[in-house]
């Protein structure tokens, strides 16, 4: 992995795949598999958010990066966490309609969010943090 954009985009794709696995299992009515796939998805999403909130965003801001876009991304993390919490409740209740409705909603929010990060924020981070990219990547991986 060379750039922050490549590393984080790869992580987005991994989360997308787990998302699709969990959704498929819920659609098939296989709740033990849904629970396992959903938990994997939720943990990886939480890990991804932590990499950004604890390592990438603070470093970017202390290097003089833009605060507005970062605030926007943090707000969307809250949105997604709300939806993920509701999805966890749907898994606990084994409520397929609720799960699918929430998962469809999350998919659109998540994809829009990823798109903005991949197209704009990560390239900005790669540019501003070019001198310390290696150490930022190490810190993110250590989260």
């Amino acid at each position: 992995m060379n750039t922050i954009a490549e590393f984080m985009t790869h992580d987005h794709k991994a989360c997308d795949n787990e998302f699709a696995d969990a959704e498929q299992a819920a659609f098939d009515g296989d709740w033990s598999k849904t629970e396992a796939s959903f938990n994997a998805f939720r943990n990886d999403m939480a890990h991804h958010f932590r990499m950004e909130e604890e390592a990438l965003f603070p470093t970017l801001q202390s290097a003089g990066g833009p605060s507005g876009p970062v605030q926007m991304m943090l707000m969307e993390h809250v949105q997604m966490n709300d939806l993920i919490a509701d999805m966890a409740a749907a898994v606990a209740e084994k409520d397929e309609d609720k799960y699918r409705g929430l998962s469809e909603t999350l998919l659109i929010v998540m994809q829009q969010h990823n798109h903005k990060e991949e197209q704009i924020l990560y390239p900005i981070a790669d540019h501003i943090l070019s001198a310390q990219r290696e150490s930022v990547l190490e810190r993110m991986q250590a989260v």
Partner: protein
């Protein structure tokens, strides 16, 4: 790179796209009524008043209406730059497009020159404002991506299509001695092959991988397809206007266009086949129906070059497959994705009170079973349209199909608006 683009709230007010989406189904209903009340089979002559009037209800009243609404929503979010003066631009384009389309269609239907003479300046104004605002937005855009390039080329094609359309309408109204057949061919080529095709290509690059979790479009394709289509259209335009003695240049240019479009359809279908998200999804099925229709349009168009062809009017069939089968399938599929999301998205911004009240998720805004019914109805409507030139009863089926689709889509849009209003009231009460 402009950093401000992510910082502000980029989404325009919800009424901007929704008002366009609410008006568009009315034009499907109007097209149905025009076809049903025509004298004789409107498809027996491609320049029959009813067919001209109904076609422009679909192209301007439905396709352009939804695309203008969607672009004013999508450009800020997808490309990261806002439209200048979003509310005035939305109102001006919505009203002038609605009125201009009504005047143009009634002018064609009734053969009234004065209506056409009112229509073309109004439609010219619509697109002048829209294209101007979109160009400002694109030049402000932070992201440099293939979608932006395709949208830009689509806007250039639209400029040409509208200029030719205005010239044709004015000529038709005042009895100018123009070469109508060739100018109309150039107008259709730029409007459908340019504006509609390039816009769909550019937006697909983003939405297909995003919503179905497919691999991305190959880089070689995204970097070259839209410019190649645009170049072929320019060559085709030159051939149409210069009128060479041989048929070969026209045949080659048209074959190249359909080859490129066919590539797009095949690659899209292959990507969708590799999608990670396997669950049934009405938008995906609308998309697939659209891509198969695009391939069908290509086959019909190429068949028109075969002498003594088995099909009566292969060019007419190609245009039907393209407009109804390709463009309308994709647009309706996308509307069923966009409208519920917009409702959810704008309600979510109600903050903590919104969470307390409980916001309906996207599947609770428009019931999914309606989308599936609409898909089947739409498939049947396309089939009726393809049969209409050879079978008078199919004209009635087509009119019925368009009428029911307009009612269904209109009901879906109004249900979305009603859910939004109802939940917003609850949020406001909770936050008092």
């Amino acid at each position: 790179m402009k950093l401000a683009s992510l910082s502000t709230d980029q989404a325009p007010p919800i009424f901007i796209p929704l008002r366009f989406f609410a008006v568009a189904p009315l034009f499907m209903i109007l097209a149905a009524l025009l076809l049903a009340t025509s004298n004789g089979n409107p498809f027996s002559d491609i320049h029959s008043p009813a067919l001209l009037a109904a076609t422009h209800c679909i192209t301007l009243g439905f396709v352009a209406m939804t695309m203008l609404g969607a672009i004013q929503q999508i450009l800020p979010v997808m490309i990261g730059s806002t439209m200048p003066a979003p509310a005035p631009v939305a109102w001006l384009t919505l009203l002038s497009l609605t009125l201009g389309t009504l005047l143009l269609s009634s002018g064609f239907m009734l053969g009234k020159a004065e209506l056409l003479n009112l229509a073309w300046p109004l439609l010219g104004l619509t697109f002048l404002v829209f294209i101007g605002a979109s160009l400002v937005s694109l030049t402000r855009a932070a992201a440099r991506n293939v979608t932006k390039a395709a949208v830009l080329l689509a806007l250039f094609a639209l400029t040409g299509a509208i200029t030719l359309g205005a010239l044709l309408a004015r000529g038709y109204a005042t009895g100018l001695a123009l070469d109508y057949l060739r100018l109309a061919a150039a107008h259709i080529s730029l409007a459908l092959g340019g504006w509609v095709m390039l816009l769909i290509v550019g937006v697909s690059y983003q939405v297909v991988p995003m919503f179905q979790i497919t691999p991305p479009y190959p880089k070689r394709l995204t970097e070259t397809l839209a410019p190649a289509i645009f170049a072929v259209l320019l060559i085709n335009l030159a051939i149409l206007l210069l009128e060479p003695a041989s048929r070969w240049p026209g045949f080659i240019a048209e074959s190249l266009f359909w080859l490129l479009s066919g590539c797009f359809a095949v690659v899209t279908l292959r990507l969708q086949n590799q999608r990670k998200r396997r669950i049934a999804d009405a938008t995906l099925s609308f998309f697939q129906l659209g891509m198969f229709s695009l391939l069908l349009a290509a086959l019909f168009s190429l068949a028109s070059f075969i002498p003594s062809t088995a099909f009566a009017q292969p060019r007419l069939l190609s245009a039907i497959a393209f407009l109804l089968g390709f463009a309308m399938s994709l647009i309706q599929g996308m509307l069923y994705k966009i409208i519920p999301f917009l409702v959810w998205f704008h309600l979510f911004r109600g903050g903590p009170s919104a969470t307390k009240v409980g916001i309906p998720n996207v599947k609770e805004v428009i019931p999914e079973r309606w989308m599936w019914r609409h898909l089947w109805l739409h498939g049947a409507t396309i089939l009726a349209a393809l049969l209409a030139s050879g079978w008078d009863a199919a004209v009635w089926l087509l009119a019925l199909g368009l009428l029911l689709q307009g009612l269904l889509l209109g009901y879906a849009v109004f249900t979305g608006i009603a859910v939004y209003r109802r939940t917003l009231r609850k949020i406001e009460q909770a936050s008092r």
